[in-house]
Amino acid sequence: MSGTEYTASDLFVERFPDQARIVRIAFTNAFVALGVGALFGVLQALHRTEILRIVESPTYYTILTGHGVFLVISFTIFFLVGLYQWAVTDSLGRRPVDMRVTWTWLGLMSVGTLIAAIAILAGFLDDPPDVLGSELSADVLFTFYAPLQAHPLFYVGLVLFVVGTWLAGFDWFRSWWAWKSDNPGERIPLPTFMVLTTMIMWYISSIGVATAILAFILPWSLGITESLNPTLTRTLFWYFGHPVVYFWLLPAYLLWYIVLPHLSGGRLFSDPLARVVFILFILLSTPVGIHHQYLDPGISEGFKFIVMTNTMFLLLPSLLTAFTVVASMEHGARQRGGEGTFGWLTALPWRDPAFTGMALAGLVFAFGGFTGIVNAGMNINYLVHNALWVPGHIHTQVGTAVALTFMAGTYWLLPQLTGNRLVGRSVALFQVVLWFVGIIFMTNSMYRGGLIGMPRRTAEPQYAFDYEIGVGSVTELDVQLALGGTLLFISTLLFLAIVLLTLFNNDSEPIVDGTIPPALSGPEDSPRILDDLRVWVAIALVLVIFAYAFPLANIVSRGGLFGPDISPFPVVTDLASHPVTVDAVLTLQHGVATATALIT
């Protein structure tokens, strides 16, 4: 394919105009969410560090909720459905069986987002209106479990959104079934395989959050039930809350496995290894959610320990990916004349924003892995839990590995989806590098701030005490956080501008090569059982039951399905009949500061 300038008829938009339209709408939704989310991000960065405060500190929670929900739910998942719609259509070479289904899921997801967004944004009003008998508000953060309570509309919006994604998965399965009956005995094309396995993981895990909302949180927020069992809803949330991170990540993996080797000038190193990785995610991503609850009371240490072991197994697919993707890049570099142990790195197409964005995203991901292992360790987690370290980790992973890959992928996909030439390639290159620089400043500050105990999720991290810091100073950390956040915001604006200009750049010939070369080692080198999805679903379900049946039974038998109460500790209120506990209860009531004073 040397030097081919593709004629428009080869472009995705020419072959599947209606599908290109679906993808463009999904991407538009994603990018609107990205823009608002990034604005909220920079406001947080400047507010926390007391550089610029345009809202009152209590409103910080509205901003933080918007930032979390718009970015990790709307931006990532709308991009995912767009990308997957492209991947299935392109790799199977066929349109959906029934386009009405496609429009329905896109509509459900959009309406759901809108409803949830209204509930969140009402938090900015001085006097939010009453809707359905309660005040409109949803300052519950993206980890929306009890005791924080949102207006019912927020949960209704989320439910519609999630149901939309379920229907999208059904749509893709249906395309595959139709393709299978036309192509009996053929291996599932790799991109479609990745889509189907991701969706299986999503079905298994999102059932947890659906149960939490529909059975407990929504009725409680509507006033139908009086109380709930907070440990139960937290556990159901995290049952979904860990796999959802792979739901963000797997589309980035798809781009790394499918597009990055091609951008490097080579071919995917191994198709079978890629399949194994996606299967490992079906099996391993759900039975680990309790690792977010190491510090939750009401779950035995034993369960937590088992989950820690499961979590460490998840390193395996990440390391396999690092190997396969880097080996594919090296293959490309050597084909382009690269030599030597490290010299080949210079033969990579570093001037291509799509390539450079994805490569830098992968690099950040590798280092985010280290902090992930720290979070996963049961004891060392105590050090960083709820500290600023955690957003540090979040921004290296979903905030960069995923977000930057999506932006870079857009640079490659957009011309094929619009038929327009990408505007400002060198600005695009600058944009991805700027994101990389911004994230280094911001997360460096967050990690180090976390290690000295700075809390996350607060407008006032300094309270009234000083942090003891070994290297540098708190002011220096603040400056880095604000600077990094500002660079990220500028980078986002550049990205959105390039996308917008490209959309309107319609009297141009795109320069893009959309063909995906076959893998060096193709699917014929792998056992057929990899494609037998039923086997993997069955094993995954067994693992989930092993991991969750006992903890859940335990939690319910102690707290009841609808719980004793949602009030925080202490649960014991009848002090007179428990004279011995009075001291302990009072101590805890006065918080950590008092406790420390009593002990020392």
Binding site: G265, A327, G337, F342, W344, A366, L383
Partner: protein
């Protein structure tokens, strides 16, 4: 646009990802150093947990 300058085709059998191996080894070395650093910050020079709760 990116594969315009492929200078030679390398197929499966003649390809050895030695550079990848080198990078992965390097990555592990960095991880070990980071663990060492974390250990240094967290454990060395800190007193044992006080046993005053009894």
């Amino acid at each position: 646009m990116t594969d315009g300058n492929v200078t030679r085709e390398i197929d499966h059998d003649e390809y050895d990802p030695v550079g990848t191996l080198a990078l992965i080894v390097l990555y592990f070395v960095i991880l070990l150093l980071m663990w060492g650093f974390t250990y240094f910050i967290e454990f060395l020079g800190n007193d044992p947990t006080p046993m005053l709760l009894a």
